[in-house]
Symmetry: C2
Subunit: 403 residues, 2 copies
């Protein structure tokens, strides 16, 4: 039956950030689809640049708050969510330590929720905006983070964007959110912990190493680099594969026979790298990583901010071009918690995750359901195939290139 081919044979890949595995079944893209189709989120149908009923457009009245009227803002606009998931004013939760039951653990969560409008223009998205228009969005993200970081009750600021109705977004006006909480949320806490463990073992930052691994010069070696077939536990304990007392030496991928070949890179510039991660779950999931070790957006200089704006524009354009639609996704920024913990800050490495649901076309998404919820995350095409599809898309928006 020949030799193992990653484009045809089932395998699973390890996500070191979450410490979990993803099943990859590339032959399954051949399956015919008779299931649910979504309405296409087609950006070619022109919507108005101002909508008098939109509660985010400049000058309009906000949802549930008849007394609030939006200012006549020119680039970005930040306000506190009228229906926040977490609030600042709520009573303390009284603890009864004597009756502790490990199966009924609960904590109070205080916090604040902000909405961040990206543009006064109702029908724009990041993909339609120029670098110069995206820069103020980055500054707004920084402003929200910085204005909350010294509050004693806020230990983490999670900035994200849900784009498209299919991603639960109820208003097409370009906007994101920030949910800031007392606790460090599960995902970030887990990433931090795994990055911390990596650092203890290899004395290097996991994501600095990952940038290095993915950007090594292409070579002729067979994919994938550094592959192994050991048992999960053996790998997680990390004892098996690091022989000769090398466990304190960072993993080298310089051996020509196993060097990565840049096949997961979507785009890059001096300060940022965008890849479909080796362990991606969503079909066209990407990660944008700072090339140097910075913990927060606030630490970026002007040139780096411009590089971030550029890579965001290029990535979102490629996304729109892939299926010729306004490409839906959830995007989030992972940066250092604001808990004042120095070690947390040093361990953090600024990166953004993009989780887009579409698989085959503008109307057919990937369902992460039965096996995925009960067993293991599962993907159809390989991350390398996804990256290839995205690099083949232009970074000029299809609507603009038509003009």
């Amino acid at each position: 039956i020949g030799s193992f081919d990653f484009n045809h044979h089932s395998h699973r890949r390890f996500n070191p950030l979450t410490n979990s595995w993803v099943l990859c079944s590339p032959h399954r893209t051949q399956r015919p689809w008779q299931g649910k189709e979504e309405d296409a989120e087609d950006s070619s149908t022109t919507s108005p640049s101002f909508d008098s009923k939109c509660y985010l457009c400049p000058g309009n009245t906000r949802a549930n708050k008849t007394i609030h009227r939006n200012p006549d803002y020119k680039d970005t606009f930040v306000f506190e969510n009228d229906f926040p998931a977490v609030q600042q004013d709520q009573p303390e939760l009284v603890v009864d330590d004597d009756s502790f039951n490990p199966l009924l653990q609960v904590e109070s969560v205080r916090g604040q929720c902000h909405v961040i409008c990206f543009s006064p223009n109702h029908d724009k998205t990041l993909a339609d905006m120029s670098e110069q228009e995206i820069l103020p969005v980055i500054d707004a993200w920084i402003h929200v983070y910085d204005s909350l970081k010294d509050k004693p009750d806020i230990n983490h600021v999670q900035i994200f964007e849900n784009k498209g109705a299919i991603m639960g977004c109820s208003n097409p006006h370009p906007h994101g959110q920030a949910w800031s909480t007392q606790d460090i949320p599960q995902e970030t806490a887990q990433e931090l912990e795994n990055m911390h463990r990596y650092k203890e073992k290899y004395h290097r930052c996991m994501l600095c190493d990952y940038v290095m691994t993915e950007t090594k010069t292409k070579d002729t070696s067979s994919f994938p680099a550094g592959s192994m077939n050991g048992k999960a536990n053996a790998v997680m304990n990390g004892s098996t594969h690091l022989t000769n007392g090398t466990s304190s030496i960072p993993p080298k991928s310089s051996s020509t026979s196993t060097a990565p070949d840049g096949s997961r890179i979507v785009c890059e510039n001096a300060s940022f790298l965008c890849v479909v991660p080796f362990w991606a779950t969503w079909p066209f999931e990407t990660m944008v990583l700072a090339k140097t070790h910075v913990a927060t957006l606030s630490e970026l200089n002007q040139a780096q901010k411009l590089d971030l704006a550029t890579i965001l524009r290029q990535l979102t354009c490629r996304y729109d071009n892939l299926f010729k639609c306004s490409f839906p996704y959830s995007m989030g920024i992972h940066q250092a918690p604001t808990d004042g913990n120095r070690e947390h800050h040093e361990t953090s490495h600024l990166h953004l995750h993009f989780y887009p649901p579409l698989l085959r076309s503008a109307t057919v998404k990937k369902f992460l359901v039965g096996f995925e919820l009960l067993g293991q995350a599962q993907r159809d095409l390989t991350p390398e195939q996804a990256a290839k599809r995205l690099t083949e898309c232009s970074y000029v928006h299809y609507k603009k290139s038509r003009v």
Copy 2:
């Protein structure tokens, strides 16, 4: 601002099976919804009991396999998936240990995929079937598991059902699947590990204890039982809350001031308990647990199987009655791996998870997106509110009660 009220104030709850936290924001159900609505999966529109184009109906030809014709089956029918996510015949993945990179870990996954038809009747669902009709489905699940359990290449059998187009199901004919793999999938591996740790610490089974906790007699104490407000890390290390050297004593919830009050129970019988778990993520998520410590369906006697059939019928009827629709969900059975590991078998406790996506009505689902994917799972109504809604629904199907 008064005292802490779980029906109004944000809190997070700990899921001991997955070792992760879920944010609960109950006041958020008041938020108006202007976002995406799904097509209702309305079971009142009559579909035919036989569909000549359905590749699962008795006597029909199967998808992609023109030579295969389904038998004229009378209750259940099991066959190998024509588009399997994992296969038995694939080459070995050759290991190159010298070039191990912890960021590029991959394993081959061999396995088998089965489809399990629940009924020859195209327009039935578990909610429409009698206990006597559900019994053969349970036997089919047992048959699949037992026939695979001695295969050396199969170490785990994941049985599940995706119901409804919204859950990625592409054929309404009542059916489930089994994906059987060389590896123990992520979710099960994690549950096993956490149950193992619990057992090491308390010398008891986590889910036996959970059944006990949830079924204690109602009392007048304020919700929730055994609540605590410590820091996540303190809890996870487990050192803080177990004073006086009691760490080897199982948690007792017999103190009247903190005893649970049965408020998460949806239904129960002699052998099974159905609850909205304390840590539920999906709005109407439930868990069906064996009341005694059994590791697999195969170990159930006839009376217990009938009890399982009964609770499945009652639960799925309540689900349909909640929003008067054919209620979508992903369901899965967690039982012992088939890896021959005695400790794994002893640690396992048979249970089923139901993950339904709907939140407000037959057409408005909960979106687990931005904050949920990047930060932390989040729910709106409390598990106790969800359980109350479900217990208020009849276990007689609304279509039958209309007749």
